[in-house]
């Protein structure tokens, strides 16, 4: 009896001790969550309008900074993302890892870009972390000397521009546009950084890149709104797209001063942009095979997204590419900018209440269709280029070829617009398909024009 009660007492003690332990652990956990909810961040360093280094910002915002660093990840999606390909470092290109070559994946691109530096080296884009290195070391730098203008979107330029302009952002932009690339490269240190999109005192979103400030001003002026400044007039939700639109856009270098210009003075649609280029008489290069004055489309994500249902529903870039995430009791936007297909739960399921596999299948179905049309469009363009080349070799005059060359310029720009856009049509499926259908039509019309 005595023995039994002793055992019972020991058991009670042990169980009670364990329960107390569990209660303490739970209490601490609840305490931590409450603390997190109370303090969205601790300020441990002072940030100013000259704090360029993201690591310093990261001391105040470690969660955001950690996620930002993750843009080094190389992950494939069906049509996008990048694959890590080993590269033997050389004097000119010390990178040991690069992304897969798009030119090898689809040699028709070389025909499209014949005579242009892109036909020499064009790889799948990697994450933000690589933007500066990948531009510094691309073979395009050797194929043709690039201007300092390029740095506008491949580095954190806000502080360097201000320095170069003696405190004046726009003046610094002009000064650095003038420099050869190698010289401009020396003025910058970091890839896109915190200060490019955030005000250092309020953390509010802020547009800092002159190209976008001028581009959106021209666009709004065409809509009857003079002197538009996004930093004054844009809503918070608009800014969640505008900060990305600072770079993910179509552009060209204007005149001998190589000023970066976003061709939006007539609107954001493909026809508006082509009309604008025709009016100012811009060409990016003369096609080596056909002699046509052709254009290179860049990465018009902002323009394409603007034509789609997500933009129309008020969904900004950051909603899908930097969705809100929970860290303990905090809610922050995910600074690991990446494909939403790699993050379907947070990126899509906030609004679309379907299983992940279903949502992924929908995205890929759209992309499969666009990609099929893109391939047909590519075949049509290559056929036109072949016919033009043959007609030229047969001694046809420039006047005979003028109509077909004009059609090549249009067909090629339209195809490239969808090809260079980084969503394989997803940002605006119907618009991407409409553009490709027009491209095919122009290419075939070009072939017909040669038979006249």
């Amino acid at each position: 009896m005595k023995r039994l009660s002793r055992t019972a007492l020991v058991a009670v003690t042990a169980v009670a001790a364990l329960a107390a332990l569990a209660a303490i652990a739970l209490l601490m956990n609840i305490f931590e969550r409450k603390q997190e909810a109370k303090n969205p961040f601790y300020r441990v360093v002072e940030l100013t309008d000259d704090t360029e280094d993201p690591a310093i910002w990261g001391k105040n915002f470690p969660q955001q900074y950690d996620a930002y660093l993750k843009t080094v990840d190389q992950v494939r999606t069906r049509y996008g993302g990048s694959e890590a390909v080993p590269h033997t470092p050389t004097q000119a290109d010390p990178r040991s890892v690069v992304a897969q070559s798009r030119l090898e994946e689809d040699p028709r691109l070389k025909t499209m870009w014949a005579g242009y530096a892109f036909a020499k080296d064009f790889r799948e884009e990697r994450g933000h972390a690589y933007m500066l290195d990948d531009q510094t070391f691309t073979e395009r730098q050797q194929a043709a000397p690039q201007p300092g203008t390029c740095i506008h979107c491949h580095a954190s330029v806000y502080v360097p521009y201000k320095k170069a302009g003696g405190g004046d952002l726009i003046k610094g932009f002009e000064v650095m546009n003038h420099m050869p690339y190698a010289e401009a490269r020396k003025q910058v240190t970091h890839p896109v950084s915190c200060i490019d999109c955030h005000d250092p005192t309020t953390m509010q979103l802020r547009v800092t890149r002159p190209g976008f400030l001028e581009g959106i001003r021209a666009l709004k002026a065409s809509q009857g709104i003079p002197n538009y400044d996004p930093n004054v007039s844009a809503t918070r939700q608009e800014m969640r797209a505008f900060v990305c639109g600072q770079c993910h856009v179509e552009y060209y270098f204007k005149g001998p001063e190589k000023r970066l210009v976003y061709p939006w003075a007539k609107g954001l649609k493909i026809e508006n942009i082509l009309d604008y280029y025709d009016e100012v008489g811009h060409k990016d290069w003369t096609h080596a095979d056909t002699g046509a004055d052709v254009l290179k489309a860049q990465h018009p994500e902002f323009e394409m997204w603007n034509q789609g249902i997500h933009a129309r529903s008020g969904v900004a870039c950051a909603d899908c590419h930097m969705p809100y995430m929970r860290v303990g009791a905090l809610k922050i936007s995910d600074h690991h900018v990446r494909s939403p297909v790699l993050n379907i739960n947070r990126a899509c399921q906030t609004c679309h209440h379907w299983p992940e596999e279903e949502l992924k299948a929908r995205v890929e179905q759209i992309q499969d269709r666009v990609f099929e049309l893109r391939n047909r469009s590519m075949d049509a363009l290559v056929a036109l280029i072949g016919d033009l080349k043959a007609a030229r070799a047969a001694g046809k005059s420039d006047a005979d070829l003028a109509e077909a060359r004009k059609l090549q310029r249009r067909a090629q720009f339209m195809l490239d617009f969808v090809e260079a856009e980084n969503s394989t049509g997803f940002h605006a499926p119907e618009e991407a398909e409409r553009i490709l259908a027009m491209s095919i039509d122009y290419a075939r019309q070009g072939q017909l024009a040669l038979r006249k």
Partner: protein, 148 residues
């Protein structure tokens, strides 16, 4: 030494009860026994759902418990207890999807809740003998409870 055992056992037990009690108070545990919707956002995870409810059309006529627990005191506290345990376990361990999803069993509770008030119109839609089968109200009226 052995004579101390009852004292050790009693004080450990007392400490455990005190700690559990304090944890319960500190975590506002009693709030879970009320119908106050703010209790559901106690652990921060359901802030989004709570602020969605504040903007939803049902905020004036229904609180969380009206749609997410079944009628009847015993059934209500069974569901509350099961949900409470599952949620706090998931949130404490951090093992749950970021965009939280309602589980089928709780969705059934909610579907029945719609019919508590809207039985007539639902019967008219489904047909008096259930000709169209069992329809899901929130499949279309997703935002009545929580504005999206």
């Amino acid at each position: 030494m052995l004579r101390l055992l009852p004292i050790v056992a009693a004080s450990t037990l007392g400490a455990a009860i005190a700690l559990a009690g304090y944890t319960f108070l500190y975590a506002r545990g009693w709030a879970y026994l009320t119908n106050d919707p703010r209790a559901c956002a106690n652990c921060h995870v359901m802030e989004q759902q709570y602020s969605g409810w504040l903007k939803g059309s049902h905020r004036a006529v229904a609180v969380c418990n009206d749609c997410h627990t079944p009628p009847g005191l015993v059934a209500k506290y069974l569901v509350k207890g099961e949900n409470g345990f599952r949620h706090s376990f998931a949130f404490t361990t951090g093992r749950f999807p970021d965009e939280i999803h309602i589980v089928q069993r709780d969705l059934d509770v909610t579907e029945r809740a719609c019919r508590k008030c809207h039985e007539e119109i639902v019967t008219a839609i489904e047909g008096p003998h259930g000709e169209s089968g069992r329809l899901s109200c929130v499949r279309c009226h997703r935002s009545v409870g929580h504005m999206e």
